[in-house]
Structure formats: C-alpha cells, structure tokens
Subunit: 381 residues, 2 copies
Amino acid sequence: MTGLSPDTAARILLSQVCEPGDPVMGALVRAAGAPGALELVQGSATAGTPEVQGRLEAYRRRWQGVSTRDPGLLVGSVADQQVTVVTPECPGWPRALDDLGARAPLLLWWRGREPSPVYTARAVAVVGARAATAYGTHVAGELAADLGARGVLVVSGAAYGVDAAAHRGSLAVGAPTVAVLACGVERAYPTGNAALLDRVVAESGAVVSELPPGSHPTRLRFLERNRVIAALARGVVVVEAAARSGSLRTLREAAELGRVTMAIPGPVTSAMSVGAHEAVRTGQAQLVTGAQDVLDLVGALGEHVSDERRAPPMLRDQLDRDSALVLEAMPTDRSVGPAGLVAITGLTPVQVIGALGVLSALGLVRTRPEGWRLTMAALGG
Amino acid sequence: MTGLSPDTAARILLSQVCEPGDPVMGALVRAAGAPGALELVQGSATAGTPEVQGRLEAYRRRWQGVSTRDPGLLVGSVADQQVTVVTPECPGWPRALDDLGARAPLLLWWRGREPSPVYTARAVAVVGARAATAYGTHVAGELAADLGARGVLVVSGAAYGVDAAAHRGSLAVGAPTVAVLACGVERAYPTGNAALLDRVVAESGAVVSELPPGSHPTRLRFLERNRVIAALARGVVVVEAAARSGSLRTLREAAELGRVTMAIPGPVTSAMSVGAHEAVRTGQAQLVTGAQDVLDLVGALGEHVSDERRAPPMLRDQLDRDSALVLEAMPTDRSVGPAGLVAITGLTPVQVIGALGVLSALGLVRTRPEGWRLTMAALGG
C-alpha cells in the first residue's frame, strides 16, 4: 500500500499504542510532529516529566505488541468498505475537533461520504438513553428529522434508544447523519444496529472512529467517544437521560468546549427524564422543546466556536519545574518554536517537548502553524 | 349588626364601588384612610389629576346604585357560613398582601379557619390549566400532597383541572389549603367544585375573596384574583399551561412581586406544557420537578419577601404636573405626611392625595406607619 504521507502513516501507528483522548500523546505529536513522536516511541530517549516518561514507557511496551507495523496494510484491510483515513492535514478534517487541544483525535477512520467543512459546520449532536422510552425515541426522531430538514447534520453514537432514533430521524427526511463509534469503523456495534449503520453510509452519511480497525469497545472508549461527538457539533441536545447518565458527561464535555448544551424535558414522572431535568435545573443545559429552539440557540453562535479551553489560574502553581520554566519563557505576544524555548530555558529538546505536552494538556499553550503560543486561558489566568 | 370598626365598615362599602386591584382606590385609602376615602366618595370635592377625578366620579355613580349601604347587613348575610371579614387592621391579615402596594385588596372575605401569620408564612401557589391532562392533574395532586405533608400551605384558584387537583392533593394528606375566588365567597364557583370548596372549609382551610358576597365572576376579576394568589404565596408553581395561558400572567405578577416563579415540565409533545416550557426557556420560571425542588428554591428566600416593586426610570418622565411636583418634594431619607407635602408643594390636600395615588400605583412611593416614603425603585431609578 502506498500513497500515505509520513504524517498519516505515523498517526496510524501511534493510534495503536495509545487510547483515545490521551493528552500526553496529543502533546507529543503537536510538539514533535507525528513522525517525530513515532521516532520517540520507537527510540529510547527519556522525556522531561515523570508523567510523560511513564506514558512513553507504556507506549513502548504497547509498540512491542503491535501486530501490524505497516500502516498501509491496516488501511488496505478496510478499503473495500469505503473507509478512508482523515487527518488534520486533510482539507476535510473537521476543524472543530482542534478545540479538544491535546485531546483531539490523532486521526479519524471515516467510512462513507468524504468529509468537508461544509458538511460539518452545521452539526448538532442528539444523544440520550439507551433504555429510552417510547416518548424519548419519538422525540429524538422528530427532532433529528426537523433538524435534518433544515440542513443540520445530526451527529450521534449509534447506540440503541435515542442515538439510533436520531440517526433514523435524519435518514427519514433524506438528510445525512454521522455516527461516531467507540470501536473500529468496520465493526457493527451494537450488532442490532448493523443495518442502520449500513444505511447511514449508503445514504451520504458516515460512520467514524478514531480507533484503528479491529478495535473493540471499552468503557473508556465510550467515554472518550463522547468528547468527539461533543467537539464535532456546535451544540449537544440530550433527549432522555437517567440520573448520573453518560449523556450528562457529554454535556459537561460540550460545555467545556464552549458548545451549546441543551436538554429536552419530559414527564417528571419518568425516570428517564430525571437527568435532563437536573441538567436544566442546575444550569448545565438550556431547555429546548424542538428544532426551532435548538436553531435559535445554536444559530446565535458565531460561525466559529471559541477554541480556547479554560484553565483555572491555580494550575500554574501545580506545575513541575520544567513546565513552569517553559511557561515563563513563552512570549506573550507571538509564537515560538521548540528550538527557541531550548535556547531560553537551557532545557534539552526532549525536556521542552515534554513540558509543552503538559502545558498543552492543561490548555495553557497550543500549536499554531508558526509555532507554540500561550492560550487566552494562560494570558488571562 | 354592631362590632365593625369604622375602618372595616368603610372598606366593606368601598369594595362595593370599585373593582379588585384598583390602584387609585388603594392609594386614596392609604392616603386618607378608609373612612376618609369613603367621605370623599360620598362627598363632592374634586381630586388632583384628571385620572383620579375620573375614577372618583365612577365611584360616586356606582355608590348611587349600591343596594346595601349597611355593612353589618352584608356581614350578617354570610355569618352562618363561617365567613369573617379580614382587614389590614387584623392580626391575621396576610402581610404578604401589602407587597401589592396600592393594588392590595381592601379586605378579604374569609370563609373557614381564621387566618394567622403562621398559617400563611409558608404558602406556595400551585396553578395551571383548567383543561389539564391526566398527567397535569396527577402531578399537581402529588406536588400539593408532598408540599402539604411538609407543612406548606397550598394556595390555588379552585378552578377545574390543576387548581382542583392541587386542593385535593393537600386535603389527601390532611393539610389545609386556601382557595381564592373571583366571586363572592358564599358562591360555589365553579359549581362542579362546590363539594370540594365545602371540604376545603371543613378541613381547616379557607375559601377567600376580596369581592363582596353576591359578586359574580368576570374576566377582569379572574385576572385580578391571580395577583392575590401570587401575593399570598412565597412562590408560584405552574403545572400545565398552554401557550398564552392565564397561568403565565400569574407568573408575571409573581415575578413583579419578587416571588419565586417555577414551572413543572412535561412532554414536549403535549400542548398543555407549551406555556410551562416557554416560561423556563425564556427565564420567566425555574424548572422544578417536585416538592423538594420547590422547597429548595422557596426556602432559599428570607422570611420576608422583598416588597419593593420596580418602576422603570422613564416612568417619571411621563408623570402629570402634580405627581411630578410631589415626587420631587419627597425626602429621600425619611417618611413624610400629606400635610408636609402640602406645605412644600403648595398644592391642595386633595391634589397631594391624588398625586400620591398615582405615584403609589406606579410603585414610586408607599405608605409606612409613619407616613409616605420613596420606594427603592424611585431612589434607584
């Protein structure tokens, strides 16, 4: 298999040695580039902080067990299923994912219609309970249909209950929909929704995942999948959620990303609406009753959602010595390359990269095409 | 019939010549006392502003048609129904009604257990649609029962649907409840709830109204009745309300009085929950799912609810000359009597009283035991 860029090839291999949402891997890739991070994993150099060093050793152990070290083989294994690899280098990469900072996916396995910015700019996530009531699936389906009819791309997780009803609602009006999985895209999970996933792909939508083909779902992967759903969308609507539901976690992820958080009310006599009501009651979500309410709130946002994550000021007091040194060395008004930071701090390149990884994971610095830069959170904190 | 104080006797007669919530009558009574206001109505003196003069003439016309000019006869006509007259002079007068300012009832006809401050201090209003669904009446009944069991006095309007369900819920747990009518207390309105109203009275509750015995309900009286329900309670819960429902007006009254405004959500597929959802969506009410949520919000208030009504600053630019003169003459740091204002402004006593009536109706001044005083709204505006 040829045609993979060094960056894409490295990202495919790196995604086999870490779990979704790993901020240390994300920071290493941002600091050294994916090929540089892969070299670090394949080599034996030490990194700056004990945390980064610990993670690096874990990646190296896992690298020993990777069965397919040829990324082209992995891509080829799912090529007949209309699967492509999308990375931040691709024009179709959903830029909204960059708001996740160091927790952004390294890449997406994309089964179905090729992504485009137009395709994802007006995305709204509709999520909720697996054990949804008839009311919940009815409302989710109507909402997704109304949103789809108004040109909104509905994103969900393909789970039973609300998720599946949302995908079906979009399909019912001929609108594309995107399902984000917590396993390899070639897997039909849950198996009962296999036909639905095929329909999503056949009808101009996509089934996507950051996990390599062959990956099975785990609890952690479900949780991290929710951050991708939240990041892809401009707003998240919870349709039914029991108390302490996973959907409420998605709402929190969404709120941290500056997304609009919404919940559909239901009968107070229904256990499946307790979480949605709680979210409204505590100000974690705004009450919406249908597509118009959602568009009123989501449309009120600018075209680009704020991508600065907030870090509480106290964070900088808890930094290790290297990270504190690098943070102090960052210019406040422009970007700087790792080489510049090496010169200022006297640290080694690997120490600087490790420190940048920590700072990036904390939302204090971020990469720009021209180098590293302090975030608004770091400047304001 | 003897034993009525001059104040009570005058209030009974005055309530026969004006409609509920008449701010000009309220202001006249506050300025001149009820006997003084009655003298004004029975005499032929002119008042300061065209508005006050116009009202006064209407009272005089109506006075000519009053059939029972002996207040004792009116009291005697309902004495066998356990009805007493409660006025601001009585220790049992619900002080919360004073928050209505010039729109406070002149008196209450009180059928049932004699009122006491203890009895009304923890009152919550539960109101909603007449055409309630089974869900609405179920939830209203449960809510009122849970509130009653926790020592909360449930106040409502005895209408079909949510109101009746709320009264029944309280009675079901042996808790007293108060029904506020838009007609004479001796009338069973609506007639289908006659047995319910008798039960309310028999089981330590009360049926109350500011309208004299024999009065029939009108649209205006229903609307003004809602202000009494809102004022009596520390918070108002709307259970079911269609779009543009009268319950939403009660919420607005309650908000203006500084009461806690709450709404119970329901299925978004139900037309009878549209108003409640709209109230939450627009911030007019907080979402509550049951008695605990209500107590969390109502209990968070101090023992006495703020009694200053807000008037937009622009109001003072629209005042007539007399009222503007009196407003300017008001001391900012203490109370003043009408005589003091006569001396400062050079207006006649009747002109001053008329101006105070206008200012009071606008929420810019209010009476204290020691005289008239600017409100917070007037000072801050």
